[in-house]
Amino acid sequence: MEVSKNSFKTLSEPVKQFGGLVGIIILIFLTFFVLNNIFGEGDELVAKMKIEEERIAQERKLNKLISSLPSGVLVSFDGTDNFKLSDELYEAVCKATKLIPQRAIMGANFLNFRAHEIYTINGNKIDETFVKWDDEKNKCFAGFVVSGNNVGVDETVKVSGEALSFLSTGIDTRVYFIKNF
């Protein structure tokens, strides 16, 4: 022990400094290795990051597509002067759409009186909205959930139907017509 201590003392200053640097690097690696084993998620984390990256890339692609659409009403059916979406665009717009404005909700409520009643008494409050692409039916479905919980009515109504038209604002797209009949 004494011999190795003495031999260390005899080493030149640059060698000592290099040895110290290597030691610190090894210590850092070891620290991260130990921390990663304790708190790290390893492969699981990498997989999550990949999914997130893919999601961001997909979102960017959809945003680019939406900004390329004309502003105004976009429809998936014939017989109007509005911009007619191709099958591919219809699917893309459906997947990119998250909002359902009040007029679309009021329109869908024409065929669901109870939903209208609850929507009126709860102060036009919507608990949940959804826009989903159905791969099996190759159609876009949208809907909403209204409940009277905030006014003491223990009842919830879900209204859903085919989303047949959208509104493009240039920034986002919104469901404009839910065909629930």
Binding site: V73, V75, F77, G79, P101, A104, F110, H116, Y176, F177
Partner: protein, 125 residues
């Protein structure tokens, strides 16, 4: 910086004024008589008014494509009227309190029809 704040406030004021001018009673008499009202969301009503309420014959057009042509009572769809859905489907018949109530015919955009008695928007089998 002060110029930027002033510009933002001035732009907001102009936008609000422009928006306010584009809504409300645009033509005619919307108190008692015949007039056209434009709502903030671009819904329009053109027809008869009694005591500032939609009353009598009129047409209400929603921005998302619903068009109701017919009778109004106390600002609600009441009486005989026809509702055009955005996809081309229609309901023609009786209305009460803003809903299909009474005798009426629902025609889908493909021509299929359902005729009979309706209660609060539901067909009575």
């Amino acid at each position: 910086m002060k110029k930027l704040i002033f510009f933002i406030l001035f732009s907001s004021l102009i936008t609000s004024l422009a928006l306010a001018r584009s809504t409300g009673c645009k033509e005619g008499n919307c108190d008692n008589g015949y007039g056209k009202w434009v709502y903030t969301d671009k819904t329009t009503y053109e027809g008869e008014w009694v005591a500032t309420k939609k009353h009598g014959q009129g047409t209400e057009t929603w921005p998302n494509g619903y068009i109701y042509k017919g009778q109004f009572k106390e600002s609600q769809w009441n009486g005989i009227g026809i509702l055009f859905f955005p996809d081309g489907s229609t309901y023609e018949g009786e209305w009460a309190n803003g809903f299909m109530n009474g005798e009426g015919t629902f025609t889908w955009s493909d021509g299929k029809q359902k005729k009979g008695i309706w209660k609060n928007g539901s067909f009575q089998e």
